[in-house]
Symmetry: C2
Subunit: 142 residues, 2 copies
C-alpha cells in the first residue's frame, strides 16, 4: 500500500485532507487493472465493507482527475471511466467488444506526436492531447 500513502501525502501537502473515503477510493483504484466507472468502483469499495456514498465517488474521481492523479478514459459506451495516471504520458487501450475487458498498451507516442504537429500546422490548431483506443476481440473471445 505504499503507493496509496504516497498519493495521500502529496494531496495533504497541497492542502487536502486524508479521509477514510479518499484512502479507500485510491486503494481501490490502484487495485484495478483497467479503467473503472464510478459506479463500478463504488460497488467494489462497498464489497470491501467500506461505506462510501456514490456521490462521493463521483466527486472524488472528478477531483482526482482535475489534479491529475487519475486520467479520464472514454470508451464507446459513453460511460466515464478513470484510471490511475501513469508516471509519464498516458495509456492507450485495447477494448474487447465482446467481454468488455480493457487491456492497457504502450504505444510509442512519438509517431503520434509527429502527426499532431503536422495536423496542428495544417489546420491552424493547437493540439493539446489525443485519445486513441482500439476495439476488437481478445484472445478469449476470438
Amino acid at each position: 500500500m505504499k503507493r496509496t500513502e504516497f498519493i495521500l501525502q502529496s494531496l495533504r501537502q497541497n492542502g487536502h485532507r486524508i479521509t477514510k473515503a479518499r484512502r479507500a477510493l485510491i486503494k481501490a483504484l490502484l487495485r484495478t487493472k483497467q479503467p473503472v466507472a464510478a459506479l463500478e468502483l463504488h460497488a467494489r469499495i462497498s464489497k470491501s465493507k467500506v461505506a462510501i456514498d456514490r456521490v462521493t465517488v463521483y466527486r472524488e474521481l472528478k477531483f482526482l482527475a482535475d489534479i491529475g492523479v487519475v486520467h479520464p478514459v472514454n470508451l464507446k459506451d459513453n460511460i466515464q471511466r478513470y484510471e490511475i495516471a501513469p508516471v509519464s504520458g498516458h495509456k492507450h487501450h485495447l477494448v474487447c467488444t465482446a467481454c468488455k475487458t480493457v487491456k492497457n498498451v504502450n504505444v510509442a507516442c512519438a509517431d503520434l506526436h509527429n502527426l499532431e504537429a503536422l495536423l496542428g500546422k495544417k489546420n491552424n490548431f493547437i493540439v493539446r492531447e489525443h485519445s486513441l483506443e482500439f476495439y476488437g476481440l481478445c484472445a478469449h473471445c476470438a
Copy 2:
C-alpha cells in the same frame, strides 16, 4: 439533394421505407459539417419546420449506424454523436475544447494499421477498429 435520394433508394432496395422523418433526418445529417448529437439534430430538423419526435431521431440514428450509413462518434463529453459515413474508411477529429467545434481531418491510416497489426500480434488481440481524436484549441480560440 442527390445524395439524400441515393441513400434513401439504397435503403428501399434493402426493404426499408422512405418516410418523411427518414428523409428529413438524412438531409439534415448531410447538411452538418461535424458530428451531431441526436438532440442537436432534432433541434435543427424542428427549426426547418419538419415535425419529428425526439425518439424517432434516436431510433433512426441507431438504425443508420447499424447498417453503416452513419458512423458513431464519441468525444469526451460522453454524448453520442453521429456523422455520415465517408465513402471509404472513417474520419478523425480535431476537437476544440473551448468552442466545442469539431473539424474532420484525414489521417493516413496506413501507419495506424501497421500499429494495429503489431499490437494485435503482441497482445493476441484481433483489432477491428480504432478511434483517434485530437483535443486542443482551434485558430479562433487560441
